[in-house]
Amino acid sequence: MAAQRAFAAAVSLSMLFALSPATAQTPPAESIQIGLSTDAISITAGFSGADLTIFGSLENPDPLVARQGRYDVIVVLEGPPRPVVVRRKDRVLGVWINLDSETFENVPVSYSVATTRPLQDIAEPAKYKQLSLGAQNLYMKPADETDSPATIEEFTTALRERKAATGLYSENVGGVQFLSQNLFRATVRLAPNVPVGTHKARAFLFKSGMFVKESSAQLEIRKSGFEQSIFRVAHDYSFLYGVFAISLAMLTGWLGRLIFRKD
């Protein structure tokens, strides 16, 4: 079992009592806030996945609704969007070959969801589609929209399935817990292969199945360590890196002959 490190993240208890005399009469609208203790996380090369805790607060909750547990929160940590090609293998003369493919634009590399309850218990499916919320409802834009809807549907499903299989798309039902009437804690999973880049944490507030408000924060995920330096050099100074790789090979060959010489 991979050691799971929980990253610290903490509260930004926003101002809860900022009521002006004018709005004191009618109950003010609920809203939601989330806060991260840091805006950047460094992970090392041996990273084996972790849980990220995000704290947040509900503002102006209706005590009655809160007591009945009719407030629901969905927290999403969305990786940077990238274009993706999905390929399907088919049998040609007995050999499995990549044949059909579909390119999608701006697919989040990772997508971790934490919810108070199963998604289907919180709101209607149409609501999620409208908000493009949840791995199954996320809108994947095909690069070539002239393809038949059935093909696009097939490849979209395959894309979601592959993303889920590699742990990049995950869902943590019950991962959001209310600590008090106002305060909640969300635990989203970071996959071992979590991509580097700017991630977006978003929190959605639902009241009795109706979407109320959204709040978001940004989180930078960086890789650090020796291996990452090599990776960076290989990409930024690729020519020098190649020369180094060749010199290393020649040196090893020469030393090997010197040490183990038998002739």
Binding site: V84, W96, A234, A245, D263
Partner: protein
């Protein structure tokens, strides 16, 4: 002990890689081949992405061929002029190969193409070698003296124009087949991550009639430069050379090669060739099986280029 490979982006066991390098080094020392044709498929079996296995294989080949060429240089069994002409062809072939490599990668057919090339080439070379060595074994068992080809015999290759004299090889031959052979090997080197010794050596002996004693040294000499060039171009265009992976393989390889060479001296030529042939065929069959077996996932994802 696990180690994270920065370019392949996966965690692997250090000892597995060292052992893999040592085993291939042992075999390459024993049979006098570079071992690239074994390293690359082994890395693919070990779940290293084929593109990285190929580029890193080319890097690894430099170490073994450099160490081998040094010995031949000291013994004077190296034809620099012939090596140089082969190399000129090699650079052209390698450049073309890198271009094809990047193209295949973009259209998602690289893995298939690498496997197919391996199956076809290893299958052919392994099959031919097996037939030849079994015949030789049978002949020696029945007591008949081995039939030697007349060295003065000429074939169509020797009637081509643009002749050039290669003194160290005692050869007067057209540069066309030499350049062509170099180009072919360079192409394979960049797509398969092999040095190409297993094709170069028989081609020099049987097609160009180069004396056997200078063949291996000259072939190794040209392989150093072709694979160095391939490594450099893969590093700059595809960023697929993993130095950590290459170093572990080399470290195991140079040690294993010396012991392999010693073990090889105890076996007879035909037996050695029959063993190598079976090994080559086994790798080909293993790769062929993967092409036909239904993959666990029909769908795969890859990053799309920005066109």
């Amino acid at each position: 002990m696990g180690i994270y490979l920065p370019i392949a982006e996966i965690s692997v066991n250090v000892f597995v890689l060292l052992a893999m390098g040592a085993a291939v080094g042992f075999l390459s020392g024993m049979f006098g081949v570079g071992g690239g044709f074994l390293i690359t498929p082994l890395l693919i079996f070990y779940n290293i992405p084929p593109a990285i296995a190929v580029a890193t294989g080319a890097n690894q080949v430099i170490a073994s061929s450099f160490s081998g060429a040094l010995s031949h240089f000291k013994r004077g069994t190296l034809d620099f002029k012939l090596g140089g002409v082969l190399l000129a062809g090699g650079i052209v072939g390698s450049t073309a190969g890198i271009y094809v490599f990047a193209l295949l990668r973009r259209v998602g057919q690289l893995d298939l193409f690498i496997s197919l090339l391996y199956v076809v080439l290893l299958g052919t070379v392994g099959g031919l070698m097996l037939v030849e060595s079994v015949n030789a074994l049978r002949a020696s068992r029945s007591g008949a003296a081995p039939v030697l080809k007349k060295s003065g015999q000429h074939n169509w290759i020797h009637r081509l124009p643009f002749k050039m004299r290669f003194r160290a090889s005692k050869l007067f031959v057209s540069v066309i087949p030499v350049l062509g052979l170099g180009a072919g090997i360079g192409f394979l080197s960049s797509i398969m991550g092999v040095g190409g010794g297993f094709i170069m050596v028989p081609a020099l002996i049987y097609l160009l009639k180069v004396p056997t004693n200078v063949v291996i040294g000259t072939s190794l000499f040209q392989i150093i430069f072709t694979s160095a060039y391939t490594t450099l171009v893969h590093a700059t265009t595809n960023q697929t050379v993993d130095v950590i992976l290459a170093f572990l393989l080399m470290a195991g390889g140079v040690a294993g090669a010396q012991y392999g060479a010693k073990a090889g001296q105890k076996l007879r030529g035909e037996q050695l060739r029959a063993l190598l042939a079976m090994l080559v065929l086994a790798v080909a069959i293993r790769l062929a099986v993967d092409l036909f077996v239904t993959p666990p996932n029909l769908y795969s994802l890859s990053a799309a280029g920005l066109n």
